[in-house]
Point group: C2
Chain length 147, copies 2
């Protein structure tokens, strides 16, 4: 049957960020549902943020639409445009190419969980707050030097 | 801000099904979130099923992955392989090309709501229970006669 068995799926806090940017996501626990469920058209991440953890460094993608739906708990969505609290059932959409970095931060005292949807980005991602960029399939400093 | 304002989005019970197959989805109320939110990489439907309503006729797609997550209430997922109850937070995945028709039916006495993700299918969809097929961008009888 196609029902997802979360408990049977690997959960990881791995990150590709350079060490100086990794602490913010150390308590972000991710399950990649798409490959486990046999889906290839889009990516689906089930994400648990422990108190204090962020979903990512604040960023935006040139060529990847993103969508999130909160399943439990709450997190603050942070953008240049402002802050907004997302509770269970709340959703947010991030169209590709919109140059306002976003991330979710669990500022509560309890875990929160959400689903994040996207596709594998081929183009660049931009990190307005830190000296990081994603380009050509790798992270580097903004000036292109590798870490 | 990118937070979705559901109440501001049009909700419709329109269907492209021929009249003889439309009654099952008459109490299915859909909001298309992707276009309203500026997303194009994948489709996102917010669906409310009134008691007795189905998400669709039971079907499977040759070339479209589908994924659902229940937001509130409950529905029964029906396949050849069996029946399983989906409650808030439960998820299910339907890989393209898996020839087991599926749909959700609200057999409870209260509304349920879920999100459905997919992409615009270019290939055929198959409806094992009824004389219907989806091919070349249109519905027809299984033998190809148009309605």
């Amino acid at each position: 049957m196609p029902k997802i068995d979360l408990a049977a799926m690997e959960q990881t806090n791995r990150t590709g960020y350079p060490p100086q940017f990794a602490a913010a996501v150390a308590d972000r626990w991710v399950r990649r549902l798409g490959p486990a469920a046999g889906l290839a058209d889009f990516g689906i991440s089930h994400v648990v943020l422990k108190p204090g953890a962020a979903s990512s460094q604040r960023h935006w993608h040139e060529d990847e639409d993103e969508f999130v739906v909160m399943l439990s708990g709450e997190a603050v969505l942070v953008e240049e445009a402002g802050r907004v609290l997302l509770k269970a059932g709340d959703m947010a959409a991030f169209p590709k190419g919109h140059p306002d970095g976003h991330h979710l931060v669990n500022e509560s005292g309890s875990d929160c969980a959400f689903l994040a949807f996207g596709r594998v980005p081929m183009g660049d991602a931009h990190y307005p707050d830190i000296d990081l960029r994603w380009s050509g399939g790798t992270y580097s400093h903004k000036d292109g030097r590798l870490f």
